[in-house]
């Protein structure tokens, strides 16, 4: 029995629910040395900015228990080089591509959307809201529902209607549901969570912060329970909104937790640093888990853990003949 792994990110169909997480697969070429990128549900690019960015000073990385901190600071070549070299490379190969963008002002996000609006090969646009808002003393957009909403509304109004706009949220907030709701009300077609919560490590030899940038984003298995909780809460409050779940996914079992919590797409980030083939392995493991539970379609598992115990899977078993597409 093969499991139907297709999923929908808003109205866009993906062959399977596994995508790379923004900033963890660069622009795809590096991973292409290891496997055929068509086997991904989608590739998500690092967050593209208007100007080229050199990022933060090194050290940019510190290992923490079951996690790591990074302070890359959106290093990248800027939108011009992206449109010239990186996106066409993906587009020509027909690789499903979620383009992530980051900016310091609403105007900058809008301008990025404008530049991408007519570019071929943009499957969806993910808005990285974990950037400091230059017009609000550097307060991160994702931490303020109204600032996040302003970005989303503007980008949504600019982007082609058939390209879903995905708002990417951070967990460093008192109430992720209210930020999620603000973004959906502003026109977000889907939500993605979680971006890295802010963390820090101190080098007890040097008696100084381990990262040159002092603080950095925490990723990896350590954040998995925070991320599953965010997806759960948002799916409970906004059950109709497609969610990309990510944070600490290392195995198909972790991915399955996100699906059961309500995600229809699952992002893989830090796991790629450990295993370049992580996405393929996770997809296979997830499929095996679904099959072992008698679930014939990924779609049937999305949000399943919200339903009363026992009821849903049994129902699916009975319907099994019908539900084969």
């Amino acid at each position: 029995m093969s499991v139907d792994m297709r999923t929908f990110l808003a109205h866009v169909e993906l062959a399977n629910p596994i995508t790379t997480a923004a900033g963890c697969a660069s622009s795809g070429r590096e991973l292409a040395q290891f496997f055929d990128l068509h086997r991904l549900g989608a590739l998500t690019t690092r967050s593209i900015t208007m100007a080229p960015r050199a990022g933060r000073p090194t050290p940019r990385m510190a290992e923490t228990p079951s996690g790591m901190l990074n302070s890359v600071g959106l290093q990248g070549p800027g939108i011009d080089a992206f449109l010239e070299r990186e996106l066409p490379w993906l587009a020509q190969r027909g690789i499903r591509t979620i383009v992530s963008i980051g900016g310091g002002t609403v105007a900058e996000y809008s301008e990025l959307a404008r530049r991408l609006a007519d570019a071929p090969g943009v499957t969806a646009l993910e808005i990285n809201l974990s950037c400091p808002n230059m017009e609000d003393r550097g307060r991160v957009f994702a931490r303020e529902g109204s600032a996040a909403a302003e970005v989303i509304a503007s980008v949504r109004s600019i982007m082609r209607y058939d390209v879903p706009v995905v708002a990417k949220l951070a967990p460093d907030v008192a109430d992720i549901v209210s930020v999620a709701r603000a973004c959906v009300d502003a026109g977000a077609d889907a939500l993605s969570m979680i971006n890295n919560p802010l963390g820090m490590a101190i080098d007890t030899e040097a008696l100084r912060p381990s990262l040159a940038a002092v603080t950095g984003g925490l990723s990896g298995p350590a954040v998995l329970p925070l991320a599953v909780r965010c997806v759960w809460q948002v799916h409970a409050a906004l059950p109709g909104v497609p969610l990309i779940g990510m944070g600490g996914v290392m195995s198909g079992k972790d991915a399955f937790q996100f699906v059961l919590a309500g995600a229809c797409v699952v992002g893989v980030g830090t796991a790629l640093f450990h295993d370049p083939y992580a996405c393929l392995r996770i997809e296979r493991e997830l499929e095996d888990l679904l099959r072992a539970r008698g679930l014939q379609r990924l779609a049937d598992a999305v949000g399943l853990a919200h339903r009363p115990p026992g009821s849903a899977p049994r129902h699916l078993m009975v319907d099994s003949e019908e539900s084969i597409p």
């Binding site: 697969a25 590096e30 208007m50 100007a51 050290p59 990385m61 990074n70 959106l74 980051g102």
Partner: protein, 277 residues
């Protein structure tokens, strides 16, 4: 994994890895998963490949020193344990087209990567001379093997317990002069590479350095391992040690600016880029 042994202050591991051995060229490194199943250590550890042999379809040997928990775990591995390796990674040392006189400089485990390089250079008819150092005698790796391969081998220790007292950089100028060197190859900590590069530039000969930067992925996707390097076009870019390196032309690396974003680097704050996240 095949064997594990101690070599002076170092541990050496031989791993059966035909896929890596086959594509290997000197200067390549591998990344090793540490801690086993359900470990709390999520990042791989990078190690230069010291040796490649054809036995068992192809083996690679790593040489390392223990510091933190990852290397401590590796040091506890026993023959027949399995090890999870990704490689070969990085850009290897470029070799001179024509026979040339090459000085190979290594300190600590850095010298481990120089032996297969020496083999390749000798195969091209180059002259090879070694300068190998360490803090103390037992941290000087590969002295015997160097002596067998090279025209001359100069050893240095900081405490004077073996060879000359001092660092490899102290010994380098006279070796370059004596051997009429055409090129220098070096693998050592950043500060030593910086000094070695300065010496080579004084003699106006090219120098290839293999650098070490803290790496989360080793395959070019995470952007944590960058350092400022001057490109062909004269512009400084923050380039990845794992993908564009680990081998660079020494004079291209802005050693004094490692750990910073030089103001004139492409995309530096103020250099035109907005300052987001």
């Amino acid at each position: 994994m095949l064997t594990t042994r101690r070599v002076d202050a170092y541990h050496a591991l031989t791993v059966v890895a035909p896929g890596i051995a086959e594509r290997y060229r000197p200067g390549h490194f591998v990344s090793v998963a540490v801690g086993g199943a359900y470990t709390s250590m999520v990042t791989r550890r990078a190690f230069f490949i010291h040796d490649v042999k054809a036995d068992y379809g192809g083996t690679v040997e790593l040489v390392f020193t223990t510091g933190g928990p990852g290397t401590a775990w590796l040091a506890e591995r026993r023959a027949r344990d399995t090890l999870d390796l990704v490689g070969p990674l990085g850009r290897p040392f470029p070799l001179p087209r024509d026979p040339a006189n090459c000085v190979l400089v290594g300190s600590d485990y850095g010298s481990a990567v120089l032996f297969p390089l020496a083999d390749a250079l000798l195969a091209r008819g180059c002259r090879v001379d070694f300068v190998i150092g360490g803090a103390e005698a037992e941290r000087v790796f590969g002295a015997m093997r160097a002596r067998r391969m090279a025209e001359t081998t100069t050893l240095t220790t900081e405490d004077g317990s073996l060879g000359l007292r001092g660092t490899v950089t102290d010994a380098l100028p006279s070796v370059i002069a004596d051997t009429r060197a055409d090129a220098v190859y070096a693998c050592a900590p950043m500060a030593t590479l910086r000094a070695v590069t300065a010496v080579a530039m004084e003699f106006d000969i090219p120098v290839q350095v293999a650098v070490e930067e803290s790496m989360a992925c080793g395959i070019g996707v995470c952007m944590t391992c960058v350092l400022p390097v001057i490109g062909e076009d004269g512009a400084t870019r923050m380039v990845r040690a794992c993908a564009e390196g680990p081998v660079f032309r020494g004079e291209r690396v802005r050693f004094e600016d490692v750990g910073t974003i030089p103001f004139d680097a492409l995309g530096a704050p103020g250099g035109g880029a907005r300052h987001v996240s």
